[in-house]
Structure formats: structure tokens, C-alpha cells
Symmetry: C2
Subunit: 232 residues, 2 copies
């Protein structure tokens, strides 16, 4: 088995992650709840009342939407230092997304009525939140654009590139995308049916553009991979 770790270097360079120092923890102590959740547990579900916003301390939380016909679309994965559960719309007091733990998690919950105090508690917090939201908006916008322009295989390739940027770790001459995803999960991220994802992955494997190591995608040549799915 190949032992793979996420590079701590790429994490520490991400300056928009929120960490609560002792002063903050002390100050918001009366309001903070630390939730420990198992894999598969929901932090909250769509249509439930908005009471708190959340910051991931440990683990990975998937944010996704579900349509009326049960179709699921993944919007984001939150890692430690990322905030979620903010009021998405002033018109309703219910969540429109689901937040589910992909692995055992620890999540800080703070009541929404403390949000104002929270962003004023430190010069950096508001800026970090704005950066996080901006990045998410760009990525969701990327996905939307891909939907209108690209076939399934191209959308898959672009997703793998985005995942590589976020989770890639060097391994031999290539890169391992250090996150385990089923074909169904991938289909929910590119809005395709699972069978189509299986087929497209098979093609990429047959072409030698990806392989599997320890259930993770391995890209032998990132340079070659970056050329896929773009205009010549």
C-alpha cells in the first residue's frame, strides 16, 4: 500500500482559512458548540431552519443540493478552516443545501445571531470569509460553464484538474489526487449519470492518462493531462 499524505505545504499557504485563536474561543465560548460527527452524519439538511453557521475543525464536509426529482449535485467540500451554513438568502430562514460529513468530523457551531460580532472580532475574519465565498462562486461558475459547453468526458477531465489543484500530491513522476471518490460521487459533481462517468474514466485509463493507486487517481503526466479538454 502506498502511504500518501496531503501536503501540509499547500494547506498552510491557503491564507483564507479561519482558525480560532484562544482569545476568540474564550470570547465566543458561551455561544460555541463543538460537534463531533461520524461519517455520513449531517451537520444540517436542506429545509431545516438556519440556526448556526459552522467552521470545520477536523474532517471533510460535503455541501450539496438535491433537486425535486432527487437529483444530487455537489457544490463544495469544506476542510478545516472553512466556513459554511451562512444565510444564503434573506427571504427564507431555511437551509437550501445539505452538509454531510465524508469522514469523522469536528465542527464548530455558532449561532447566526452572533455572526455580526464574529466578523467584527478580528480584522481578518471578514476578509477570509469573503475570499472563501469568492472562490466558491468561481468554482461553481466554472462548473456551470462546463455544463453548457463540454461533453461528459471533458467535464470529467476539467474536474480532475480542479481536484488535482486542490488535493494533488507528487508521487514519482506524476501526481496522486488524494481524495477517494466513487463514480457516483463524481457524477454528482459534473452533472452526468454514473454510467457515463464509468465509461469516460475507462477511456482515460485506456489512453494511459490516469490509473488507480490505492483507490486514488494517479496522473502519470500532468503536463500531458493539462492539454486534455482544451482547444488545440
Amino acid at each position: 500500500m502506498v502511504e500518501v499524505r496531503m501536503s501540509t505545504e499547500s494547506i498552510s499557504k491557503n491564507k483564507s482559512l479561519i482558525t480560532l485563536d484562544k482569545d476568540m474561543l474564550q470570547r465566543f465560548k458561551p455561544y460555541i458548540t463543538i460537534n463531533t460527527l461520524c461519517k455520513g452524519n449531517f451537520v444540517f439538511q436542506a429545509s431545516t431552519p438556519k440556526k448556526c453557521f459552522y467552521i470545520v475543525l477536523k474532517g471533510r464536509v460535503k455541501l450539496f443540493r438535491v433537486s425535486e426529482i432527487g437529483r444530487e449535485i455537489t457544490q463544495w467540500f469544506c476542510f478545516p478552516g472553512e466556513i459554511f451554513g451562512l444565510a444564503e438568502s434573506p427571504e427564507t430562514n431555511q437551509h437550501s443545501i445539505f452538509a454531510q460529513c465524508c469522514e469523522p468530523c469536528e465542527v464548530i457551531a455558532i449561532p447566526l445571531n452572533q455572526f455580526n460580532n464574529f466578523i467584527q472580532s478580528s480584522p481578518d475574519v471578514a476578509l477570509k470569509i469573503i475570499e472563501q465565498l469568492s472562490v466558491r462562486l468561481k468554482i461553481v461558475g466554472d462548473t456551470l460553464l462546463d455544463f453548457t459547453s463540454d461533453d461528459v468526458k471533458t467535464r470529467l477531465v476539467k474536474l480532475l484538474k480542479r481536484l488535482n489543484k486542490r488535493f494533488g500530491v507528487t508521487h514519482n513522476d506524476g501526481v496522486i489526487i488524494n481524495i477517494v471518490l466513487t463514480h457516483k460521487e463524481i457524477s454528482d459533481m459534473i452533472g452526468a449519470c454514473r454510467q457515463s462517468v464509468t465509461t469516460a474514466l475507462g477511456e482515460l485509463k485506456a489512453e494511459g492518462n490516469i490509473s488507480l493507486i490505492d483507490n486514488r487517481f494517479f496522473i502519470p503526466s500532468v503536463e500531458k493531462f493539462e492539454k486534455l479538454g482544451t482547444m488545440p
Copy 2:
């Protein structure tokens, strides 16, 4: 001709709009540029360097993406009080979106290196920006979900509902959506081809669900319209 105005009531209720009072204008005066632009002018284009963020003073600015094959997708319309041009990603110093004026506009430009000062200049500004971004994230997420679940007509209906919520003004027993959009513009908002939009609009007209007044969509019965495109 029917004279129609956007309801000033719905605008003033939107508490996340940014207005610059005299103190702010004075304080940022050395940095602020007021740009007056004609219909069709770009505030900025994708792939150009990020220098400023912007706040609309007057008019309507369309934010959109263009894919490699030239496919356009509209993400948002900015009205007075709305901010755009924020750094979308820390990795690149170029815009990924286009910002184009739909009508004659006035737009404040402030250098991005003043953004930190800007959000600390008043207790409310950061909160308002966060709310604006959150709402946009939700709507873009709505659109993404619609793409994966709904046929073209349903997506059109849902778009009209969203537009009604934002631009609707009461008229007789129904509602006029007080924004003029071509079929092509609509197609860019729902990721369909123009001909499909024309066909779907024709069906809605034939069913009596919408008609045209002064080049704007009129919905005779909002109650009936709200039932369209949802599960029975």
C-alpha cells in the same frame, strides 16, 4: 404604451446594498474613480488584470463567463449598490468573468489594494458584501441544479420565477417582469440554445401563462405560474 417602474419598495427593503455616504466618499476620494459607461461597454473583460473592485451607482451591469468554444453563460445582473470584481481566486491576477453594461451606467472603481481598508471602514460593509456573495452563490447553485434536473421549459419557468421575484411589479391582476431580455439572453441564462427558448416561450404563451406587454413578460396569474415546473 404602459409606463412601468420598478417598485422602489422592493429596492429599499434590500438591506445588503452598499451605499457610500459622504464620509466614505471623502475618505476614499484619492482612490475612487467614477466611470461613466455607455450601453454595451465593458467595465472589464475576462483575462484582463484585476486592478479594482467596483460598485454600481447607476444602471445595470451583466456579469458573464465565456467558454473556450465561445459559449456564453450569464451569472448575475448587478444593480446600484452591488459590488463586483472581487478577487475570485488567489492564484491568478486576472478576471475570469466579463462585466458589461446593459444600459448607460455609472460605476465606482476602487483599487483592490484598498479592499481591506474598505471593509473595515464601516461595520456594515463586510456584512453586506458577504450577503451579496451568499445570495449569488445560492442563485448560481440553483441554476446548476436546474441544469442537471430539468428540461429546457422547466428551466425557463424557474428562471422567470426568479426574475419575477427580483424585477416583478404588480400590474392589473398579474405581474410584469420589468426587464427586457432577448431570447438569446435568456438562453444564456439557462444554458439552452436560442431556438429552444423561443419554442418554450411560445408554449407558455399558447397556454396563457405569459404574454408580452411593452416587450416585458406579463404573468396574468402568479399563483398559477408558481405551480408550473414543480412536482404535483
